[in-house]
Symmetry: D2
């Protein structure tokens, strides 16, 4: 790649070759050829045997891979029409078919059906990565389900939960994304063979008014291109709303990943959690212990762009004039690949990070020790009453000590000695050991966290993953990610 | 309403009382009461009969409608906590339940379950309006399916279609919205009874460690509130991703409506189509003939705001920290009602406009007459060749006349006399009548438009509407719409 | 306010009465009257003394405050035209002017000029609050400039800075907002008297072709309404780009405030910083020590909505068709007040919070103690070499101990005893006191932080605030902020 | 360029080589070298003559152009740190400076200062194109100022204006963009030499506590890099708000261009206006007369993406944590070049299209003829009264005929014969010639349009352009624009 002109970092840095290839010129123009073959084949099967000869068809099929870019480029310069230039170039490669390629079709026959094919395939790739990301997080959640941690609301101490439980929320989000993805897959149909403004007029002429054949043609090309059916009606293009619906799914994955990345970064700042150590990662000699959550930061960064893309698609859809205006062209040409490439990059990171999160129990327990006595006051109160203390007196005693200790901890940086003070206070009928057994055991405070994780994995996550068993055994392509 | 302070125009101008009531304080606080009753009832059914007495429950149920706003307001001033203030106020109304309302619950028990209930109900209302909008457009499409019109790509003349066929695209969009809406309805679950950080810890204490009862409680309250189940796992709140998914459906409706509005406005500018005449509409005496498409403009205006809302929800979801941060509060408080109210307004307009679109055949035909001869040149050429003309000669003749006539039409504003010229040219073996029969009949150019509409309505639209037969007989609430 | 219908929370909860009043019906219709008076007065001054009599003018001026809402509403129902309805109602109040109100004008004469007047006044109010917010933060920054804190990159420990220095960044952002605000103020001109499509045709007729008078009229009404001049050219409305430019300034303030709020929330989670204690704030008895940064959360929440508004304005501007389309109407009616109200709310919070931030030195020092020895290794190394140690040996010794201590701190939760280990290691020629003097004094690590704050306040902030001395002595209206 | 992987269309299709070069690796790494040279030079000038030798400096300067990508890439693989890899590679090229490149600096010293330099230069390029676009439109406006056209509100017929007058609105918008651009240029300062967290601590050590030298260093490098000064305070990076402010200016240009493109497309659909004929444009033989406004469509398409970018920048700015988090990195790396490239593309189109707009007077007059009689009724009425008709009678007569003719025109497609009918009606004392002289001359209806254009160009536009006289004589680089 040259160094004198701008290079898009999505390509040079963040994404899989697999996804880049899906949006490559090669894949686009090969799919155009698939569209032309499907058309010619269907036309022949529907009786146009004299026009579409067998040898023409064979010639087309024999030349379905190589793209003659030079000829196409030269012709495009002359015609200023990329589809006709490629029809011409293909005709050069398959001379027996030269006159019948693209017969009766309009540019959008190849453009739309190709866009739809590529997005369908790209979505399948995203789905595989999504499954892997869910599976990785499920392993993490299983591994960390029994690690009690301080909960946090307002980013302030709240009732404990477990580290594994916490990240079930991410899985639940990603499962909703998966459901949405499966829903949108069902919305993707071919454009089929609909003609310039969607009326099938040219094909009706081609088949001399035989309506049934025209309808059949539409169905046949769609199925040859791997779609169950075509859109019932179209203008010059397939409905732009579909683009929005697809990119909304991708943006949703972005938001889910951003949530994960943000929370890893917060917990990493609290020293409670780390990204997995990267094989190639070189710690700086000066601060070898420092573990910057850079992949999570990058994941958030890419996701932020991804989450804001759907608005563009709404605007394009909502502003299409009549059978079509070409203000959809340049923006879709940029934004559809961008949306898929961003999602590819985000999921690559999520798979990498989510499956190997490391809980730092020492840091977790240190913070817990400071806070648990405060969180335990309600239980201490109840235990005191059970052992005969007056509720009112016990309440006051506990509160007064709490407030004082909290002040000392906060204002003077003292350690939390609330349990010692309560043990030493005669009005509280509990000794140090009893107090410690209440306030020293975080497991008493995590409610059903572990059981929730078990049930969630067993009842919801695993059955879902089992549907995609083959995906989980694939090896994962590494992104450059510099 | 006072005139000295700002009034939100969504309320004062554009939306149905029905939707406004769904997001009213009354509905919110009554649903809070429903949540509290469901909780107490379930707790009693699960064995806490001594704490939750029958008379306490009866007292709660007997006071489930009226909200004591004054007491709540006074208490809130003191506590600065709206949920506890309303617990207190409810206790005042149902004194026998005073100590047991909200037992073991956290604020988000009522807040989340109420948010979810209201959104579920609001979505049901939107669905009804969406069905009506589709039905109205379907009637228009049926009515106008046989009206040939010039097609338009680049907002320039293109192959003819029919006015009805054109608007099937809108229906297809709205059906995708309907599918999405039905999908998202299935994603809505209760938050149930999950406790402060989602661990169910307080309920586990309340039921003295009986895990099964805690799980059952979660299920029971959810079902009493009309949900099939609760979310499997939650932090302090239900997953914010759900909000995004809901508002994406609403935004999608906005985009579909914006497409309709924009195209009505364009066609109205071309004089080919009008919004239905509004009963109360008063034409200005000076320009009585002028028919400004103001409802379509308003529809676009409201839809534009609606389409940009999902980004807010993504940002809120993606930036939630750990079990929850309250940076979700104010924005959701504004944006959730706004999204539903905007959709309500947009659909009110779409129902009003879409069902009664008026095609102006005179204007349509006038434009057609100017353009059809140009569009017919291909057919004229073929007919000439069939009648013995040399293809090459005919092609040149037709092209030369076309270019000349096009120039005269464009540069000098002359009428299109291409057919006359061709009739007069000996090299073209067609007389005026023959030429007229080719180029004068728009129906020859509309391909399968009519058949497409028939099949689309019969196979796709009507079966879908039939599922919602009851909705179509409802009367529609009028919005103020000044 | 009724409780059975939706109430916009911006009004009921978050904003100043002052800003609400600016966007009230009263202010709008009174400004309409100002426009009509300015028009009549100018017309009279330009010679239309027979049409615009002095007593008509006096009658108008005598009735410039009270709005006859009932008459206007009744007339609007009939005419469906709000401006003409208010012309009629005003004529009822000032019968001597009945025929000459709005003479030669189009609706947008009052609508645009009023929109511009209100936005100008609202912007002035925002500017005052912005000055106060900067001033408050400047006091905080001065107060905390000498409090060393750990710096943070990646939300991980980084080179120390001071708490005051850190928040100078917020002030610098807000000063850029202030500059932008002052720039945009200069872009606001009147629409003046331009006629239906901006050609001044009706006024040209009114003045019987006297071009100079028409131009003068435009200038006179503009100046009477408090503008220096009118836009040089307009369509039916003033340029919609201005709206975007204004709301971009507001959104910028939102982003600056969001930065502040986010960082307060992070530092509050690290216990290093607190929002100021609110007078009315009632701590919960159970967790009296907890200080949730709720105002910062709310500030972020409101700001998030605000930051996403400009896209709407771009879309409205970019999609205006020819002299004007009314798809600008409903969305501007909602979004302009929303943008100002959101900014009002955000700044109310920023003033409240930013001026009184509380640094918790105990927590700050505790974290510092753990990290400073690591951050000091470079200096320890240099001091060792100066005292004769071999650089290579010292480097290895320091690194080995650092890595081991970091491991113990992280993995086992041990305190940081790096200095003890180094003091005990013979290869390092520094004793405990010497090591402590290096690594125990945070001030050694904060570079020019204090000097930077001093210079920044003295050279940049204070001179800027001095320009607005009067603002700083105003008392601040409290928002409801529940 | 390979065809097997995705290629960003902004680069391959739409933008100038000039802008691509500004964002190329070459330009980035050369600017890094400039930063390092500026640093070393300043350090030497400030007295570090022993460390920074003259020959080291000379070696650096002698190798300031060529980038050793291979060495840098190999080193980056090892270190995973791009800045240090390039320090190493530079050291290889300039061995005498090997140890002193980047002395005391942090990565963001080169990264930020380079980002700022490139954006400053890119903005200068945008400004030149903006001037050209304004100039081109000014020529069009001058040329078409006297062409009367029907005005349009609601995209319906409204009071006439002129084609030139109409497009003054675009110029006024672009001038506001230019003002904004000039404003933002003044906001761009260097980051200077501020150290890791902005405290200048490492430089303070380097200069052994000499504060004045540290401050001077910051100033000197800034000025050597072409900035007047550096930001007064920074964290690890320069303020992210600046990015937002810059991209808002670019987005504003996008919106202005979108307005132009949209209105060209509408007028082209009405056949009143065409894009200039493109030299290389090949009309299709079938529809040689068709002139699709494809450049305007593309301009709208690109602008739509551009207009939605600022939200990303707000989100990045508003969510930066403390001294810096790296979630700003990937998104800025994509979005900053995208914003500039999009603007470059948009302005390339605007320059191309705006300067040569073609008014089709035949079509304009044809539409005018149909509508003008209706628009003239008010004047006809006045003339009738002047010639003795009763106002009431004349009013009724005119209205009745108008309504009837409007109906015939609309419902039956008849030509507008209102003037004939009025001439034939005895109650109207005007003959055909008199009526024609009123309703047949569009110039009577355009008010001050021409004078407005003259004044606008003379008083506002031309003086502004005169400030940039040199720009207007540059030749314009062509974009590929396929």
């Amino acid at each position: 790649m040259g160094t004198d002109l701008y290079t898009e970092p999505l390509v040079s840095r963040y994404t899989s070759k697999h996804m880049q290839a899906l949006f490559s010129p090669d894949n686009k123009f090969r799919t155009w050829k698939k569209c032309w073959i499907a058309l010619a084949e269907s036309q022949r099967e529907l009786g146009l045997t004299e026009i579409i000869t067998e040898e023409a068809l064979l010639d087309m099929k024999a030349n379905d891979t190589e793209i003659d870019y030079d000829t196409a480029a030269a012709k495009e310069k002359e015609l200023r029409h990329d589809v006709m230039a490629h029809v011409y170039a293909y005709g050069g490669q398959a001379p027996k078919a030269a006159g019948i390629i693209h017969l009766g079709a309009t540019s959008q026959y190849v453009v739309c059906n190709t866009d739809l094919s590529i997005q369908r395939d790209a979505l399948a790739s995203i789905k595989r990565d999504l499954i892997k990301a869910i599976s990785g997080l499920a392993q993490t959640v299983e591994r960390l389900k029994g690690v009690p941690v301080l909960g946090a609301t307002h980013f302030q101490v709240a009732q404990p939960t477990t580290m594994g439980k916490r990240f079930t929320l991410a899985i639940q989000d990603l499962l909703m994304d998966l459901d949405a993805l499966e829903w949108v897959e069902k919305q993707i149909h071919a454009r089929g063979a609909k003609g310039t403004t969607g009326t099938q007029a040219t094909f009706l002429k081609l088949f001399k008014g035989d309506k049934e054949k025209v309808l059949k043609l539409d169905e046949m090309v769609s199925q040859k291109l791997g779609f169950e059916r075509s859109f019932a009606v179209t203008g010059q293009t397939y409905p732009r709303k579909l683009d929005t619906k697809i990119v909304e799914v991708l943006a949703g994955i972005g938001a889910s990943a951003h949530w994960v990345g943000t929370n890893i970064r917060l917990l990493s700042g609290l020293k409670e959690l780390d990204e997995p150590f990267e094989k190639k990662q070189v710690g700086s000699s000066a601060m070898a212990y420092k573990r910057n959550p850079m992949r999570s930061e990058r994941m958030c960064s890419l996701a932020r762009k991804l989450m804001n893309l759907p608005a563009n698609f709404h605007a394009t859809h909502a502003n299409q004039w009549l059978e079509r205006t070409l203000d959809d062209s340049a923006i879709r040409r940029m934004d559809i690949p961008q949306a898929f490439l961003l999602t590819d990059a985000v999921l690559g990171l999520l798979i990498n990070v989510g499956g190997g999160l490391i809980a730092n129990t020492a840091a977790i327990n240190n913070r817990m020790k400071v806070e648990l006595p405060f969180l335990a006051t309600e239980e201490i109160l109840m235990a005191s009453v059970e052992k005969g203390a007056s509720r009112q007196v016990a309440h006051e005693v506990v509160r007064d000590h709490s407030v004082e200790v909290a002040r000392l901890v906060k204002d003077e940086g003292r350690p939390n000695d609330l349990l010692d003070r309560l043990a030493a206070d005669d009005r509280i009928p509990l000794d140090a050991a009893e107090l410690q057994s209440i306030a020293g055991d975080p497991v008493r405070f995590i409610g059903l966290s572990v059981a929730q994780v078990d049930a969630f994995l067993c009842d919801i996550v695993n059955p879902r993953l089992a549907q995609y068993g083959d995906v989980l055994t694939e090896t994962q392509e590494e992104r450059v990610q510099v």
